[in-house]
């Protein structure tokens, strides 16, 4: 029978919800589910995870979240449990850490999987989502990161047993220096029910303030962006949606002045309802949009903001 180890991600003392996609994927395989919480505040986060795992292990001694020492801690715990599968969400943190874990365990790894077929076979997007590959991991231990948007949050069950685990980060070459957070009182991109994204059509940071933000405000939305505008420094890099940015799947995704390059579409085409505003009728974004509005965004977006306000009463 399979023994799963879920590497739990947390930030600011709170569970990162994307982790639950890894739980959901492990449940598809079946077997015992263990969760591992490392680093400062691990004991508290363990309580949050308990309803989703048979057993939660916490190891505060792992220290700062750094790939080298954490990979050792995860691999040590995986070995001592006799884990057959080690999972994490395919977030920035998961992508940084898990290949190291795989190398340490001499295990094959499947990244960013979108479906679980059986205990060793998974589907995953390749070529910016142009192709879906089916991959088979041939090693005894399997390391997998899961695409958060592709797995529904599992129902919480009875709280699992929580216990401290001794972890030894070993001698690492790495030190943590600092984190400069993007401060925002908007919902996080990965959790948002609605996302309004702006592209180069918005023309500059001014356009984000005057056109994108008010629309996002009235929708209670998170703000996303195309690579072009992140590169231009109009908005934080963290807002980039796409093949090499964040993958999102909100209920409603509004693309404003975005052409719809495959690299962008790769990160948002799973959204339930996609609206595009673009002045170019042939823009590729209209191929994925449920509702396309061919219009000048500087006119249409503010109009939409006003109309939505009115609709809300």
């Amino acid at each position: 029978m399979a023994t799963h180890l879920i590497v739990v991600e947390h930030t600011g003392g709170k569970l990162v919800k994307a982790t639950l996609s890894a739980v959901a994927a492990a449940q598809k395989v079946g077997g015992d589910i263990h969760a591992l919480v490392l680093g400062n505040g691990a004991a508290d986060v363990a309580k949050e995870v308990a309803p989703y795992a048979g057993k939660v292990h916490f190891g505060e001694a792992a220290g700062d979240r750094l790939a080298q020492p954490w990979a050792k801690c995860v691999a040590d715990v995986a070995k001592s449990l006799g884990a057959t599968h080690v999972w994490a969400a395919a977030t920035g943190a998961g992508k940084d850490l898990m290949p190291r874990v795989a190398a340490r365990l001499d295990a094959g790894m499947a990244s960013d999987v979108s479906a679980v077929l059986d205990d060793k076979t998974f589907k995953r997007p390749m070529w910016a989502g142009n192709i879906i590959g089916t991959v088979e991991i041939t090693t005894t231990i399997k390391v997998v990161t899961t695409r958060p948007t592709e797995f529904a949050v599992p129902a919480p069950g009875a709280a699992g047993e929580i216990g401290a685990v001794a972890v030894d980060p070993g001698t690492s070459k790495m030190t943590w220096v600092k984190f400069d957070a993007v401060v925002s009182d908007r919902p996080a991109l990965s959790d948002a029910r609605v996302i309004v994204s702006g592209g180069r059509g918005v023309k500059g940071p001014e356009g984000f303030k005057t056109v994108v933000e008010p629309l996002a405000d009235v929708l209670g939305a998170a703000i996303g962006a195309s690579r072009a505008v992140c590169d231009a420094g109009w908005v934080p890099n963290d807002w980039q949606v796409g093949q090499t940015g964040k993958v999102v799947a909100p209920e409603l995704y509004v693309a404003v002045g975005i052409s719809g390059a495959i690299q962008h579409v790769a990160g948002m085409k799973g959204s339930k309802c996609i609206v595009a505003i673009n002045k170019e009728p042939e823009a590729p974004i209209f191929q994925v949009a449920d509702y396309g509005l061919v219009a000048d965004l500087f006119k249409a977006a503010p109009e939409l903001t006003v109309a939505l306000k009115a609709a809300k009463g």
Partner: protein
Amino acid sequence: MKFLVTVKRVTDYEAKIKLKADKSGIVTDGVNMIMNPFDEIGVEEALRQREKHGGEVVIVSIGTSDSTDKIRSALAMGADRGILVKHDGPLDSFAVARVLAKIVDKEKPDVVLMGKQAIDDDSNQAAQMLAELLGWGQATFANIVTLEGGRATVVREADGGLETVSTTLPAVVTTDLRLNEPRYAALPGIMKAKKKPLEEVEIGSLGVDIAAKVKTIAYEEPPAKKAGQKVADVASLVTRLKTEAKVI
């Protein structure tokens, strides 16, 4: 300081990717092949760091002799020499890491610069695996790289902001999109590149196990999205969102 930069030959990001009729892979006939864009950023970074610190920039690619022209492109940008590890057929990221570990043993670079992901398999694994095999520190998704006092201090693109980590050298660094803007190779560079040393190594001669730990056993196209509709104006958009899509 010695820089080893990895370069993978991949399908052009602008190319239309299509499945072969027998679904055994993608159509590559007539598809333009480029240097993985993240690797190009790696080459540029190595060149800029060499300008500051002096030293040598060595390019390594694993692939068929077709990869030679991507190594030459990096040499034309200004890299000093190249290594082609000759191999035909699929190779998973772990095997790539094991081969690179052998090259690192020989070359003893201070910094290995790699792309954060190859835009064909989108795996995002090889660099982190290499760092683990070597027991080195890593800095993935680099936005700013500072080499000083035997350390790499790297501002990296993380979830929710920019994280700074520091690691002793030697280290593995992976590039993110905003690390720099790669230069174009100028004609004199292209001429010079033809004379720069390019060593070829048979993969079999390295004594590395390259057996797949991960195999791609099937390829398919994603389900087509059903065609959407154009709306005439803002008012009808709002009505549809309310009554049809029920999202507002």
